[in-house]
């Protein structure tokens, strides 16, 4: 019983990451995000994990291909 529980893969979630080396802070992603999850302040782009639905529209809308989506595993705090 305990063994089976341990084998179960941890639930993953997807998170949008910004490549700050490519991002020019033009804001196209902000306008195309249907969840209002992206915030831009001068040269700071912030994606709200709570609001993001991982729809990937922003990835397609970025002229610089500066956004990527990564599979994340929740950290287990013991």
């Amino acid at each position: 019983m305990l063994k089976r529980f341990q084998k179960k893969p941890r639930p993953t979630y997807r998170q949008v990451r910004v490549n700050h080396g490519l991002c020019l802070y033009c804001g196209v992603c902000v306008g195309t995000c249907p969840a209002n999850a992206i915030f831009l302040r001068s040269t700071h782009l912030n994606i709200s994990e709570e609001s993001c639905t991982s729809c990937e529209r922003c990835l397609l809308a970025c002229p610089m291909h500066a956004l990527t989506i990564v599979d994340m595993q929740p950290r287990v705090i013991v």
Binding site: C26, V30, G31, P34, L40, C62, P63
Partner: protein, 397 residues
Amino acid sequence: MKPSYDVIVVGAGPAGSVAARKAALSGLRVLLIEKRQEIGTPVRCAEAVGREATRPYIEPDPRWIDATVDAFAIYNSCGDSVKLPPTETTLVVNRKVFDFQLALLAARAGAEVRTSAAAGGLVMEDEAVKGVRVESLGRSETIRAALVVAADGVESQTARWAGLKTVPPLADTFLGVEFLLAGLKGRIDPQVCEYHLDQRMAPGGYLWAFPKGEDTANVGLVMPPEQAKIQSPLSFLEQFVAKRYPESSTLAVISGGIPVTGAIKTLVTNGLVVVGDAAHQADPLTAGGINLGMFAADMAMQVAVPCVQDGDTSASRLQEYERLWQKRYGKEHRALYKIRKMVSGMSQERLDELVRQAACLPLAELSLGQVLLALLKNDPLLLLEAGTLMATGLIGK
């Protein structure tokens, strides 16, 4: 800072500054907020405006005019080109100075301008917008106003917070990348704006080279996301520049996007109007939006100022702006939208052929309508699409 305002304008681009100035000149208390630390930056634009269409809002000034253009040259992939006179004298401007001067005019008219001041949310009461939560230099405060003007451009969130549908369909968003190139002496004509229709270099979109002096130019491209999925617009542009302008210097890298859908249906809600790129008011064919944004801002304030003065900024009163916009641009933009779809769907062979045929016509003596008509005679296939062209009024029936 005043205790409250009649109008808060979000975004100090051309549309926002024109709206703020107009409202301030009418005696209203106006706050114009800009989230960037410096007005006019970062530039996200090819920087072309019509001289006469700009004049009502700002007197042409050499401080922001980089080039005066008297012809547009359209190139095909074989290097053939058609030179067309523009419908009006076109200026290639320095947006940093241009936007700054427009904001300065708003400030001089009495509007209070604040930079590094972002809208963080709206004050909503009884389904009406009553103000803005302004985040500025580490402070967050709620500022009330009778009217909020959403002029926050392509990254608009303000109108969406109020419930308007401003998320553009992905297929109708042009993605753009541009370099400001130097070292082009002899390789550009400082009086000619170039367009390049090349499906291999910019699939589904087009490239441009707009002169900014004898040896500098904005060289860029736009393309739809579908085509940009596999290869980034940046790498397409790098290929084009390497081929056409080798050994040039890149003085600026610019990226941006333009919703090319034609204006959104609902431009107003209780206590709020949307103007400019935030309302998708850019030209659905060329994606040019500066003049249209300023025009829309002026039109919106023409309607909204009396509403604020009467103390009634309900959607039903503000809707007059929506009606006026539809009357002026609704039909035209729907037709331009169709033309863009038609052109972007053409094969490279047909585009090449069209430009080659047009190049043989005595263009200086013909109107644009006559040119299109002559092309139709040569290309029966185009006749099938003539309905679209007729709808624009470019050719007669």
